[in-house]
């Protein structure tokens, strides 16, 4: 009997309190929405830079040119050796005929490239190897070079080094920015909640004088904080969801070569984290803020 009454009262009190303190509730929702919006946007920005880096990494390739006197059967058999190298991802065999065709395409139909080369195809058979990641490129290249079938090897060594440094930088900077934003957001949200609770500290002490248990005082604040956190997070989530869609469309149209993360799974994951996080911060923050005034 008493327990069901308690539940009824605490839920009613939480909603009534939001209704009676509309200005404060609105300010708290807004603060949480803004903090989470900034956090979510940062997260998307960082994820996109990582996506950009990994896309660039996946496009890195090593060109392996085979000895010109090697016969086709040996050239094809050599594939097995490359596949054994750790870090290897995929390869493409380009025969000397293919290479000539590619060159022909590049010059256009007006010139017969074989004729101008004196009837001899100068291109060797070659492999185009992709590594699993940019860090592996150098070691694969070094290993492939050992084989006697290989005449020479080419890969963008400088580009690889730069990309490698950039990758590390993006990962560290991204992590630092997210942690910084997280701390700033938490600080902003808890300060707002503390302020909200502070304006009602007299109320809390009166409740204590009347003989209300700590639980009975705390629970409406807990529910109220939860609801405010949830609302703030939903607002931030909606803005991010639609804002990101529009931004992606714009980027794809105006900078088509720039890879953007259009993976909606990742977006949904971020939204879920924001909503769960916002609700939890609101609820827990309120309970912690109330605790200070319960010692009467």
């Amino acid at each position: 009997m008493a327990f069901s009454s308690y539940i009824r009262y605490t839920f009613r009190d939480a909603f009534r309190s939001i209704g009676r303190h509309k200005g404060m509730a609105f300010a708290s929702v807004l603060t949480i929405a803004i903090s989470l919006f900034i956090l979510g946007s940062t997260l998307l920005l960082v994820l996109n830079s990582q996506y950009l880096v990994s896309t660039m990494e996946s496009q890195l390739e090593i060109n392996v040119f085979l000895q010109s006197d090697i016969d086709r059967k040996d050239a094809l058999a050599f594939q097995k050796e490359i596949e054994k190298i750790p870090g290897f991802q995929s390869l493409e065999f380009i025969s000397k005929e293919d290479a000539l065709d590619i060159m022909q395409d590049r010059f256009g139909k007006d010139t017969d490239i074989l004729k101008s080369l004196g009837g001899v195809n100068p291109f060797p058979d070659s492999y185009r190897i992709k590594a699993q990641s940019s860090e592996k490129v150098a070691s694969i290249a070094a290993e492939v070079e050992q084989f006697s079938e290989v005449e020479s090897i080419r890969y963008g060594k400088e580009l690889v080094d730069k990309l490698l440094a950039f990758t590390v930088w993006v990962k560290n900077a991204g992590l630092a920015i997210i942690i910084g934003m997280l701390i700033a957001g938490l600080f902003l949200i808890t300060t707002t909640i503390r302020l909200t609770v502070f304006t009602r500290k007299k109320e809390i002490s009166i409740m204590k004088y009347v003989g209300a248990t700590n639980w009975f005082i705390r629970f409406p604040f807990f529910l109220e904080g939860m609801l405010i956190g949830f609302l703030g997070a939903v607002i931030a989530g909606l803005i991010i969801y639609f804002g990101y869609g529009v931004t992606i469309q714009y980027v794809i149209k105006s900078v088509p070569f720039l890879p953007v993360m259009a993976d909606s799974d990742a977006l949904y994951r971020i939204l879920a984290v924001l909503i769960i996080g916002g609700t939890a911060i609101g609820a827990i923050g309120s309970v912690i803020a109330v605790r200070k005034y319960l010692k009467v």
Partner: protein, 229 residues
């Protein structure tokens, strides 16, 4: 029912609140606590609701030690004691009805019971026509009536009043005192700290005079007289 045994309260900053007080108050008594500011009147009431713990001594309520009470039991203690303050201390964001109902709700009283008892109590303190007003819409006297209603709505055995007429004009003060006296007649023990000599002299109740933390006078049917020159 209330017993103080050699109670001393020294505050952390060295101020002396009460010094070696022993006093006994019976069920249904009406007691005025008088004395100059800083005499220890508030310390006395705050000790009784376990807002403070004494430095030394023992305090018993209905044969049970308040000092040894676990903090979990404090809400139960406070439900036995109604508290009325000089500054009313109403919840500003709740109506008259909600303020009075709160004391019952905090104890988990079923809503049907709340709906019966709150109107009866508001009627009794003479504010039955202002259920839906917020405290800021009421006069001081009306606010104190609401506070009294809240203090007695769950039938506490003791009503503690800390200068309940301190912010009110003389006529309103008399009205409030009439209500408190009526509550006493129903069997509730009243302990009231006050500076209002007119009321004390008129009512002729037990008067305990405190000065510098000590009881210097304890008279049945006493008057307002510090007895200090």
């Amino acid at each position: 029912m209330i017993q103080f045994f050699n109670v001393t309260k020294k505050f952390d900053n060295g101020t002396l609140g009460l010094e070696n007080i022993s006093v006994s108050i019976n069920r249904g008594e009406f007691v005025f606590l008088v004395g100059p500011s800083g005499a220890g009147k508030s310390t006395f009431t705050r000790l009784l609701i376990r807002e403070l713990l004494p430095t030394n001594g023992q305090i018993m309520l209905d044969g049970k030690s308040i000092i040894r009470m676990k903090s979990k039991e404090i809400p139960d203690l406070r439900r036995k004691i109604g508290f009325v303050f000089q500054d009313f201390r109403l919840l500003q964001d709740r109506t008259v009805y909600e303020n009075a109902a709160f004391a019952l709700e905090a104890v988990g009283t079923p809503i049907s019971e709340v709906k019966k008892r709150v109107p009866a109590v508001l009627e009794m303190v003479g504010i039955g026509d202002k259920y839906d007003c917020f405290p800021e819409e009421l006069s001081g006297g009306e606010q104190q009536r609401v506070a009294i209603a809240r203090a007695i709505v769950n039938n506490p055995s003791i009503l503690l009043a800390d200068e309940p007429t301190g912010n009110l004009d003389p006529d309103t003060s008399l009205e409030i005192m009439k209500i408190i006296n009526d509550i006493n007649k129903r069997g509730t023990t009243i302990i009231m700290a006050t500076h209002d000599s007119e009321i004390v002299n008129k009512m002729r109740k037990r008067v305990i005079v405190l000065n510098k933390g000590a009881i210097i006078k304890d008279e049945l049917k006493g008057g307002y007289d510090y007895g200090i020159q």
